[in-house]
């Protein structure tokens, strides 16, 4: 029971990662592949954030006039920093991917992978 309570959320993150991975390699539509890539990245970010949480701690903002700060009172802020920048980089790479997709559509007039491969031949 202790094992399940401590670990169940890791298993759900792995399920999310499997959904994204399946969409990346199993679907033929390029937009679906892009959604799968986003789900994959979000699951990795979720895992990182969950490593920083502590039981019985509060959010990492010091309240006004607090004198003695113990490390156990506040959540670990380091994963938050790393993942905050990762989210913004995620949306900019998403913009570049959409630009590439727009150029593919202007050239081949389709977004299906097999049709593009057939037209290239």
């Amino acid at each position: 029971m202790e094992f399940i309570v401590g670990k169940y959320n890791y298993w759900i993150y792995i399920c999310l990662m499997m959904i994204g991975f399946y969409a990346m390699i199993g679907k033929r539509n390029l937009v679906k592949k892009l959604i799968g890539m986003n789900i994959f990245q979000t699951s990795i970010i979720l895992y990182f954030i969950s490593t920083g949480s502590k039981k019985g701690a509060t959010i990492p903002i010091v309240e006004h006039g607090a004198s003695a700060i113990q490390a156990g009172q506040y959540i670990n802020p380091l994963p938050h920093v790393l993942m905050l920048t990762a989210i913004v980089v995620m949306v900019s790479t998403f913009g570049v991917a959409l630009a590439l997709l727009l150029m593919i559509y202007r050239r081949y007039h389709t977004l299906e992978e097999d049709e593009i491969l057939r037209l290239r031949r």
Partner: protein, 151 residues
């Protein structure tokens, strides 16, 4: 942009709403010290206000406020502010991005100088993020032109 029919109600509401969104974005950038927020979030909110202007009015209306060239200049201005603050610290005898040395020119002590340096960094990040979001949106929504000069 998408259709040529723009609704009067949507236009009026957006014209009233956009200044408040921009003030909120500036607040989020400036108050990132004591509450959730900072350069990334405030920059995205500022960019979203300009995107809302594009969606509710014509895209030409937006270009009167913020032209393509201005967007491109703002993109690089943010990175220049960021690295310029780093080089200023280098100039006053510290390491790169060591804001404590800036207290020689600012009217604050050493700890306050680090706080002010963090604020300058946030402004630079916010300008870059805003300009890049608007730029990506303008590029994605531009029409395909076979010939003729792009503006």
């Amino acid at each position: 942009m998408i259709s040529h029919f723009y609704d009067v109600i949507v236009q009026t509401v957006c014209r009233l709403l956009i200044p408040f969104i921009q003030v909120y974005g500036l607040y989020v950038i400036a108050h990132g010290h004591g509450s959730p927020g900072g350069g990334f979030q405030g920059g995205v909110i500022l960019g979203a206000s300009f995107i809302l202007l594009c969606l509710s009015h014509d895209i030409q209306e937006m270009k009167k406020r913020l032209s393509r060239r201005a967007v491109l200049l703002l993109c690089s201005l943010g990175v220049i502010i960021y690295s310029g603050i780093g080089f200023a610290c280098l100039f006053f005898g510290g390491k790169y991005l060591d804001y404590g040395k800036l207290h020689q020119i600012l009217p604050v002590d050493l700890v306050g100088a680090r706080s002010m340096g963090i604020f300058g960094i946030e402004v630079g990040v916010g300008i870059t993020v805003m300009a890049v979001m608007v730029s990506i949106f303008l590029d994605l929504s531009s029409e395909e032109k076979e010939k003729g000069r792009p503006e």
